[in-house]
Symmetry: C3
Subunit: 159 residues, 3 copies
Amino acid sequence: MAGRIDGRLADLGIDLPPPMAPVASYVPWTKTRAGGVKQVWIAGQGPFQDGALHYNGCVGDTVSLDDAIVCARIVGLNILAQTKDALDGDLDRVVRCIKLGGFVCCTPDFTDHPKVINGASDLMVEVFGEAGRHARFAVGAPVLPMNTSVEIDAIFEII
Amino acid sequence: MAGRIDGRLADLGIDLPPPMAPVASYVPWTKTRAGGVKQVWIAGQGPFQDGALHYNGCVGDTVSLDDAIVCARIVGLNILAQTKDALDGDLDRVVRCIKLGGFVCCTPDFTDHPKVINGASDLMVEVFGEAGRHARFAVGAPVLPMNTSVEIDAIFEII
Amino acid sequence: MAGRIDGRLADLGIDLPPPMAPVASYVPWTKTRAGGVKQVWIAGQGPFQDGALHYNGCVGDTVSLDDAIVCARIVGLNILAQTKDALDGDLDRVVRCIKLGGFVCCTPDFTDHPKVINGASDLMVEVFGEAGRHARFAVGAPVLPMNTSVEIDAIFEII
């Protein structure tokens, strides 16, 4: 039986990618294992799609604002894929998206980081409704790993 | 009846600004809702004052170190305003400031980020005393949303 | 009687540095003090060794990739030193390294941030085994406090 959020993803026409293996010696997520408040911490995700990185380079240079917003949405899909993996496939266990931490590779004259990271923020609200609303930061970076345009990490409260 | 921290703010001559609406599709704070340890997560705040952004640009370029410290203090006031809003107006429910995450827009030759973010850190200690002492990071960024000089997010333990 | 992790550190030939005092008005760690899930939050650490900062400057400019990896490992040792201090000397109370947040000072053409932060990530796994595996982000910064090459903060679940 498909879960509530799986049904919501289907309604939205969203097919989550497989959770990507990390590119270094860390793990894609950790869970706190005891007590009343449980959290899952998702490692910084990039714009993987169909097994490859998309949207390389800096916003304001080789990447447009519109492209960067799409890029952030793809990063959001990877966050959801990792979260689902962390929850043994059951996204209904998400109580709340606590926070996104958004880094945007950009030129020094680009100041629309909030619009970029909205690509991921909007996705969380589409998928989880009110429970998808989160705190966040959105800041500029001169360069990101593997020259990706957007990197976002996340924290969810779970049951 | 004014609370203990409200009294402390009055003693310090601090008049908190109204909590600003977020500039994008997120929320200014989230609370974890169950269990023994409760946290409030404050989204990255900027130097809003009297409804406008102040201190635009990079430290080392158009913004001096002294200005940047004042800027960080204003950001800290906005963090307090959001925290008060999250706690239904009762800042006495703050058990501890857990962490500040500080981003400073700066030129590549500027290395005094800790002094800048002290503008907010000192404010937390003035207002909350020992409970205001926190972990933090302070790093440089090439540019920040809406060209602000300082962005800081925060996490508080609350009751 | 030496603890399990102290024994592991000895086996690895690791002699932890003394925990450094913070360079500004914050504290090197905070602990949440109640409830089932306990966390210790370690403030952003730099490459202090023998009381001095090492590896100044940006990767891709004055600092090589190999040097940056060593630098990140030294930062990791400082994280462990602060964690031990936070736990009254008993690193056996670490349940899990939840997350590292890694900032690498680098030139705009450098994209191997994950390899750099591995210097600290590998250390956590060497010392804590499976419990040392963590979520993390690794991003570029144009400059870091006191011109250090790497700054990393951390969160641990503790008992």
